[in-house]
Amino acid sequence: MLNTLAIIILSLMGASLIYVLYRTIDGRPVERRIVFAYIGLAVMLPLMMKVTPPLPITTDVQKLYEHIVKLPPGSKVLCAFDFDPPSAPELQPMAVAFVKYAFKHDLKLIIMGLWPQGPQQANMALQEAFRDSLVAVKPHEEGIDWVNLGFQSGNEFVILSMGDGFKRMFPRDTRLIPYDSIPILKNVVNFSNIDFIMNFGAGYPGTREWVQIGVDRYKSDLGAGTTAVQATEVYPYLSSGQLVGLLGGMSGAAEFEKVLAEKGKASTFILAQMFGHATVMAFVIIGNVAFFVLGRKKKNPEGNN
């Protein structure tokens, strides 16, 4: 019911764009609020449609996956949650998928955050993971299978000092249990005892800082999930091998869920993402068609860019 309704409205919207094009060429552009309405609906309606479009797995995601599956059971994974609620739609699904995978394959998670909101997002991800039936089959104990070290101020300096000893920056976990009396952290002194670092980064401090210090200075293996905005900036680290793999934005998250065979939110969001992009592209085209039909404004000189 909702599904069909959504489809009908969306197709009507598509058709009406032609009228918008006509008006724009006619020199009577529609006002912003109309455009806002288009964007809003284009994102809202697909959420009502239970469709997951086919998604090819990109090499960046594949690389990360191949590295993760190589981690033997019992490996210690440092999981850095460096993002806040605004970036959650992109990064939370990645985090959830990763945590679920880790628990199912008995990877030990050491969670921390360079962003104040990180550890709280981690808590949410853990709650979500525990709801998974396959994770629930065997109990996962805090302090043995995972620990949340919380947040520490100092941005990249936190990573730097962790090179001397994690305890230095995280003397206690979020339950205020002293570092030395947490079983999972027994014999974990610094990066040399960590098998893999997974970073979910939304900006500064984030993936770049982990590459600069965690990888280039302390020689750890780093995988990253970043917001789309960040992704473009960290791609060079991917081709130079400073990152083992990269999940970029919502589609990265969806691919990650697919490759890990975890049904998650990102897969359900990707359709809305498609329509959102389509709308923006349509408006760019309309705007530019009008721009050329009406002829370049006289006042506009040959810019240098």
């Binding site: 609620p85 101020s153 730097l160 060079p236 990707i270 309309i286 705007g287 721009f291």
Partner: protein, 225 residues
């Protein structure tokens, strides 16, 4: 005194971190970790400075009855509201057995975070989606070669990174042409451009850091050179 001391502090701090990169041996390795601790603590106080400053500014606004002053009451109220909930959650957690932290799931502070903070921040930024839309309709023009190139590659990435253009191409072929293309653009031309920028930035940061450490650059201590 007001100039020299800060400049000296800057140089010392800078040198410690620069040198300890090459010389791990004590005292540098050790000094580095101690300074690292300090940075962490100082930044925490800096945040508090910011908060107190906000309080100060809002109060001034109210006393001066300057434009939009009634909202300042609201700012102060919500600030204190959050602080009270936070401190309550925190200290009751510290005194409880077993201890829990201010941000654990189920605490009042976490409730504020989940329902108020999250809603506000996420929505604030999600508005940008609308603005991108209207800007793409009214402002983003292929006004010259560069802008045209930008828009084209933007299009390929936008349409290729989600199965949008592939939907169209799938009529003719099974292989996800556009997804591969977008992926290629990201991995090669994009990486190339980013690398050029990165290298530029690296040198830029290096020279500015150098000026700061050598004490030639003093704008941060509130003085020309």
């Amino acid at each position: 005194m007001r100039r020299e001391v800060p400049v000296l502090i800057t140089s010392i701090a800078g040198l410690v971190f620069a040198i300890s990169y090459f010389i791990p041996h004590t005292p540098f390795g050790r000094a580095e970790s101690i300074f690292g601790d300090w940075v962490s603590i100082v930044q925490a106080f800096a945040i508090w400075l910011g908060v107190l400053n906000l309080l100060k500014v809002s109060l001034e606004k109210i006393f001066r009855k300057s434009e939009g002053w009634p909202y300042s009451y609201l700012i102060i109220a919500s600030l204190f509201g959050t602080l009270i909930v936070g401190f309550y959650s925190g200290f009751s957690g510290i005194n409880a057995t077993p201890q829990y932290t201010y941000s654990d799931t189920g605490t009042g502070f976490d409730w504020v975070y989940q329902n108020i903070y999250t809603a506000l921040t996420s929505t604030m930024f999600s508005m940008l989606a609308f603005f991108v839309g209207s800007a793409s309709y009214r402002a983003f023009r292929a006004r010259n070669i560069q802008a045209t190139l930008l828009l084209i590659s933007g299009f390929l990435v936008m349409g290729g990174r989600v199965p949008l253009l592939d939907r169209i191409s799938s009529i003719f072929t099974e292989t996800p042409i556009f997804s591969n293309l977008a992926n290629w653009i990201m991995n090669y031309p994009n990486s190339a451009g980013q690398r050029a920028i990165l290298i530029g930035i690296a040198l830029g940061i290096m020279s500015s850091s150098l000026r700061v450490i050598l004490g030639i650059e003093r704008s941060h201590v509130g003085g020309g050179n």
